[in-house]
Symmetry: C2
């Protein structure tokens, strides 16, 4: 039921996943909205819910008030071992709340975190937290680093991922009080800590995992997304303003499309919540079928990689 | 002496300013480095300094240790009334330190701030603080808003500038503890406070002045700059990979150039430090002659608009 393109694109994405990924998928939602779509997709199973959490609702309050929401039903299916993972493109705060209340935290984890894959010059960097937690303590960021390393090892196949802190300068004394407090702790953590990075180094691929307070990480990722959208929109408006530009625009279109798909968050589809005791993948609110398929792929990879067990080990 | 292209481009920019802007310019620096360049520019005056603050030096320590640095000499020229304003493309922290130590703060200002003009869909938004202060208190951000409003009124000609807080969501409860504390204070401030903005709304031009802690503002502005550079570099690499793309790339070049100049920080050149008792303009470290000319224009506008008096009034 979640996301701008639900339920049609969610169902289509689930069907793609079943076709491509050797998974079974259970759709959870309002029968009236979902069942008609499943007539063409008998490969998908269905479990009903009677409530839906809206994008604008207060996450924790909504999950508390709506115990039969599609999100709560999903989390319970994981809790009860009926499924291995759940995926949502809905209200990400509510997905976190449902996971926290129903699956609980992994022992030793203070705060679960949500990461995002940021495209870089030579691949991707995993930035976390991008919004699950504001007003973090130093201990939370150390755990984000440990969980991020476990994610990079399990899902990205990196043996010794490079961990960095997002900051306003590379020198050890840079950063706000939080960054300055976390820095020496990461130096002593046994992780492959490569120090502070600024945005420029992050986008140049200087680290595999970049750690930040969820408020900073959220503003940073949104700034990057908004800037990219702004530039591509301005190019689309400016280039056709001359006839020559219009022709040139047509000629470069395939190359620009190739590039945009490299930058496309849909290629990743979603990111698992790190630190909850079960696999929960949060997909972008604008997810289409491709993004949903890829979010399901991330869920499958998380299960196959034993992500929860890896995190349990990483934080103890 | 400051900036990547000093001293040649600084001298050229000063000459452009004298030609275009009805100003007199005094160059301050090491005689050996600067005087040879002034042979061709007899319109520029010269005052010697015997020391230089490097880009990597600790700002406050460097200014304390080097009382005859070009920055300190500049600030003293303002203090002594020999000149109306000073401009530097050097170490911005040191420019702040020199201004603070020598010019002092305007009475009532807790922390001077540095802003930056961010290009938007319909013009520019003034974002502050972008790096002068980390770990701000709520009171500092309220003053940033007051000073930003004074800047927008004096230099941008906006009668009732819209003030917003940079946050991770638009709703009043969003933000970290600092944003949540500042929000109600700005509501009561008498300013035209329009609430929280996310990056997307900021780049859509939803506010004239956007206020943030200097750590957040610095990471945000660098994220935008790094993303823009990343996209344009990738376009330059990807488009010519096919013959058709190569031709298209040639055809769109003039339009892309027109667009980039719209996004170009060099058009603004620099931003005044707000809250110090004198006009000090910080230019980008990569400033070329055009950027320096425009930074001098900002300095002249700040003097003509009575910026210091406006800020004194705004914070009392």
């Amino acid at each position: 039921m979640g996301g701008d393109l639900a339920p049609v694109q969610i169902v289509e994405g689930a069907a793609l996943a079943v076709r491509d990924l050797d998974v079974e998928v259970v759709m959870v939602g309002l029968p009236d909205a979902v069942l008609p779509l499943l007539e063409r997709h008998t490969e998908l199973r269905f479990v009903p819910a009677t409530q839906v959490v809206g994008m604008e609702e207060h996450p924790a309050n909504a999950i508390r008030a709506k115990s039969d929401s599609s999100m709560s039903v999903c989390a319970r299916l994981v809790k009860d071992g009926e499924v291995d993972a759940w995926v949502s493109a809905g209200n990400s705060g509510a997905a976190l709340a449902a996971s926290l209340f129903i699956l609980g935290r992994i022992r030793g984890v203070d705060r679960p975190a949500l990461g995002s894959m940021v495209p870089t010059a030579n691949g991707f960097t995993y930035l976390l937290d991008v919004g699950a937690n504001v007003d973090c303590k130093a201990q939370f960021l150390v755990q984000f680093a440990q969980m991020g390393a476990a994610y990079a090892q399990g899902l990205l196949g990196l043996e010794n991922p490079r961990i960095a802190l997002l900051s306003n300068g590379e020198e050890p004394g840079k950063g706000d009080h939080l960054v300055r407090e976390v820095y020496p702790r990461l130096e002593r953590s046994g992780l492959n800590f490569v120090g502070n990075v600024e945005a420029k180094e992050m986008l140049a691929g200087a680290a595999d995992v970049v750690v930040a307070d969820g408020f900073l990480g959220n503003v940073a990722i949104k700034m990057a997304e908004a800037t990219a959208e702004y530039i591509f929109r301005t190019l689309r408006e400016e280039i056709p303003k001359s006839m020559v530009g219009k022709l040139g625009g047509l000629l470069i279109r395939p190359r620009v499309r190739a590039m945009r798909s490299r930058l496309d968050w849909r290629e990743y589809g979603g990111a698992p919540l790190l630190g909850v005791d079960g696999v929960a993948v949060v997909a972008h609110g604008r997810s289409d079928a491709l993004a949903i398929r890829n979010a399901i792929r991330v869920a499958k990879q998380s299960v196959d990689a034993g992500l929860v067990a890896r995190i349990r080990e990483a934080v103890t």
